[in-house]
Symmetry: C2
Subunit: 552 residues, 2 copies
């Protein structure tokens, strides 16, 4: 066989030759790496080809919003039928391109507020959804069957050689850049400013084809900021149970917190309740989480040794920079985030705790609700048993002894859902059947969209108590343990009192008094900070809350 002509392709190195042709077209238009903002759409029309797989960077924090808009303004007769492979569908232009025919197929992780419009476009036949992923698996597919041909990314600054500085919001950039640059793909970066020398090199200029200074800084919003003023006494009670019944019991030192008020309550009683219990240095030492402002009092109190972040949070920049003992910081003094490593560290940590909207009697849970297509981002990765893990830790081994009481001894990751029995509007959290079943039918999905599977879950914490699913021997026992903490919901009222007592005797159901949690202490008085202003005070003025939180 003549190795110079691959039978399936009519000649080897077709990708590389195609890349050269794209770059030649691009350079003919803009002359070099630096692209004038008003030529951006023309550049995209020159380097993107119909049917291309493309990625428009954007996740929890920064978004390549200028490039997204520039693409939406391209002529659909030149740029069409694109296959979008990216983390988030978050901005209107992300869906505008489907409406106009520029894009047709979509593989993604999370839609959020655009979920409703996405569902409508799917119904109208404008979007073909390939699959909904968690972050790590989408990055994995970037290196197998979903490598982007052209990626539009966002950074803080660039020099004229294309070296990029992402600042504290590195986020998904390294994964996107590596997959694209090393498979003959085209990389275009929007930056807030072009400078002579970047404060640190986050992406080598070699890898980047074009940089454009956007007219406005990239879109970013504070999505991990929780005002302590909104935390309730009930959340404090649940937080106390988590600390005594789970963190202290298993000796949890490495963990990932969800980003709701429930876990913020835990963070805010570490310097008070947990300190009094003598737990400093024994729990919560290493975290994989964004720099949530509610972590400040625990950091200042010496609870937390290290935090690695997927991205940053508006207003936390100076505080984080001044706490290089705890956060990952570049030689320039600002934070380094990286979602791949943060997700990896969280997956292999000893515990994940978060919230959900619905839990069924097997413990399957989902945040998916009717009429929207959303996805779960990183939660299924954090909230699943790490089956490839082989290293021991006290918490993992202790949970494993409960989980594997016979046969081959194993470790076990702790996966906790922390929920109130009723959500806002008095709809019950506990249900006989998840809405996910209907969603599967409505959106023609291959499986019901479950966020955390029941057999990955180990504990459910409500204002009533803790269900320890590891100590349940059958699905029937599991259902009763769940009913036991489901309060006055219909699911809770159907509990079998005798079976619940039996489960309680075994430790599979735990009420506050069983673990020495004094309900009378469960009030906001336990919170180390009760307002955003308190957080600023704890930070010694380093935390600069964004405008929408300056309501104090």
């Amino acid at each position: 066989m003549d190795a110079s002509t691959h039978p399936a392709r009519g000649g080897w190195n077709s990708l590389a030759r195609n890349y050269e042709a794209r770059i030649a077209r691009g350079h003919a238009l803009v002359g070099g790496k630096v692209v004038p903002a008003d030529r951006t759409t023309a550049l995209l029309e020159a380097v993107i080809e119909p049917g291309d797989r493309i990625c428009i960077e954007g996740n929890n924090q920064k978004h390549a919003d200028f490039l997204a808009r520039a693409l939406a303004e391209a002529a659909p007769e030149r740029v069409h039928d694109l296959h979008v492979v990216q983390s988030n569908i978050a901005l209107a232009p992300h869906l505008d391109i489907f409406e106009s025919g520029i894009a047709r197929r979509l593989d993604f992780c999370y839609a959020g507020p655009q979920g409703l419009r996405l569902a409508q476009l799917v119904a109208a036949g404008k979007v073909e959804v390939g699959a909904i992923h968690t972050y790590l698996e989408l990055y994995g597919r970037y290196f197998t069957d979903l490598t982007p041909r052209v990626s539009l990314i966002a950074a803080e600054a660039a020099d004229r050689d294309g070296n990029l500085y992402t600042g504290p919001n590195t986020e998904d950039t390294p994964a996107i850049v590596e997959a694209t640059a090393f498979r003959s793909g085209v990389l275009i970066a929007q930056v807030n400013r072009i400078v002579d020398k970047v404060p640190r090199v986050d992406v080598p200029g070699d890898w980047v084809n074009y940089v454009v200074e956007a007219p406005k800084p990239h879109y970013i919003e504070p999505i991990f900021t929780r005002d302590p003023a909104a935390i309730t006494d009930i959340q404090v009670l649940m937080a106390m149970m988590v600390i005594r019944g789970i963190y202290e019991k298993y000796g949890v030192t490495r963990l990932n917190h969800g980003i709701g008020f429930d876990t913020a309550a835990i963070e805010l009683i570490l310097p008070t309740y947990a300190e009094e219990l003598g737990l400093r240095g024994k729990i919560c030492r290493y975290m994989s989480v964004n720099p949530c402002p509610t972590l400040i009092p625990a950091i200042e109190s010496g609870f937390i040794d290290a935090i690695h972040c997927a991205g940053s949070e508006l207003g936390m920049e100076r505080y984080v920079s001044e706490r290089s003992d705890v956060f990952f910081i570049g030689r320039d003094g600002t934070m380094r985030s990286n979602r791949v490593y943060c997700q990896l560290a969280g997956h292999y940590a000893d515990l994940f705790i978060g919230s959900t909207l619905q839990i069924d009697l097997e413990g399957n849970s989902s945040t998916a609700t009717h009429a929207r297509i959303t996805g779960f981002g990183g939660a299924p990765n954090f909230g699943s048993e790490s089956r490839g893990r082989r290293h021991g830790s006290p918490a993992w081994l202790a949970a494993g002894r409960e989980a594997h009481r016979q046969g081959m001894p194993r470790g076990r990751k702790l996966v906790v859902q922390m929920v109130e029995t009723f959500k806002e509007g008095l709809s019950p959290t506990f249900v006989e059947r998840l809405d996910a079943w209907d969603l599967m039918d409505t959106f023609n999905m291959p499986l019901p969209p479950v966020m955390v599977y029941g057999d990955d879950l180990t504990h459910i914490v409500t204002e009533e108590g803790i269900a320890n699913l590891l100590l349940c021997d059958s699905l029937a026992e599991r259902a009763q343990a769940i009913r036991a903490v489901a309060g006055y919901t219909e699911v809770g009222r159907k509990r079998d009192r005798q079976m619940v007592e039996m489960l309680r005797a075994r430790g599979a159901v735990v009420y506050p008094e069983d673990i020495g949690v004094d309900k009378r202490l469960a009030s906001r008085d336990l919170l180390a900070a009760r307002s955003i202003k308190d957080l600023v005070r704890w930070s010694d003025g380093l935390y600069a809350p964004p405008a929408r939180f300056r309501n104090w």
Copy 2:
């Protein structure tokens, strides 16, 4: 509270101040980034402090061997009690430093040939083993509780600003570098040559503190090269069964191959047997694997769309460079590898297939043998169910339908062990009890060292047939399905013929004739290449086998 003095540390930014002091000592000694080779040990004595966590880079391919030797020559009264956190214990100096007291504690992934000496040093109280990891979980811990303070890494070339070029063997470098550089750690790189301008920047010079040109190029050996001449007729038979009974049945397009002769046999009958079955474009399109020479005929035949590699393989450099349609290639024309992304892609692929030394009746398997401490590298990650996965694919959904026949529908990763019933020396592969139980006791491990757990495994392929564990409803059935393919081993001879027939009727046991595999065709004649020379011919002379394989 005064935020400038953390209660636990006597002042914030202690890591950063300590970093500055180390760099000041280093610069006082060597004056800049470029270190003369004969000052290397002195530099290490200057920048490493007692009790430091350090990482000496080295994995399947390249090793920072010169820096390892330089560290072994340090004075134990200056450098002692180090905590080593690294992938491999592969070279003598890696253990010499424990013998001399320079290092004391060890967290690692894989020991290989040094496993025996490691066991002896553990017994002698010279090494305290923290834990044995798989690669991804160790990288995860680099971003939580095992961040290196000083890392000694290896690259192909550096410029005088410290920009590094790793060439095709990037391997673990990005993970080590990022964890160290962004937590006020010190990075020292050995390179084969210092140049004016590196061919591409793999690690920005900003991140790197010192570079030293080693007297000899870094250690590297061809560990993924399998000579087709050593493949047996039996291995061809098993490969035929895998292709018909698993790849074709489920439509497996994204997968990871182990690196033994068994999986090499599969690769070498793709262009013959699978081609004749019309499977080109339907199976084996995307792989996460090193560039094994036995993949060449399948690549040349148009079977494989893309391969992402953890590292390279000696002799494959030119071939890989000329096949940029398939491999990930830098702008400089040489391969880009990266173990983090390769492990991620493989974990979320549809199938892993590899070999093992022992399998018990639950399907638990291990390569750990007596008197050695080894570890499993990446196998447990590839060979475990990806519980965080949420995207569907035909193979994953088809396996899920078999695995979850009631309750919540799910997908399922295919995890296959391909073994002959007897190993060399006629010791049986199938055993009632793994040696891993004894190893746990001998080495005082918290758990038996199992490589792939039985409930992660889906299929066992032997020369007798295929056990499909997904279709077994109980541990008793699982044991019988395993006995059914265990041949004349003691485990096999104890099979219950009636139960095996029942399992066969259900498809839980499959013999070659059940899937149209004609045993008479099972010979080396089916191999697309029968020698290293054949591989060179298929490669059009681009593959340059290393000396030890030039035996033809």
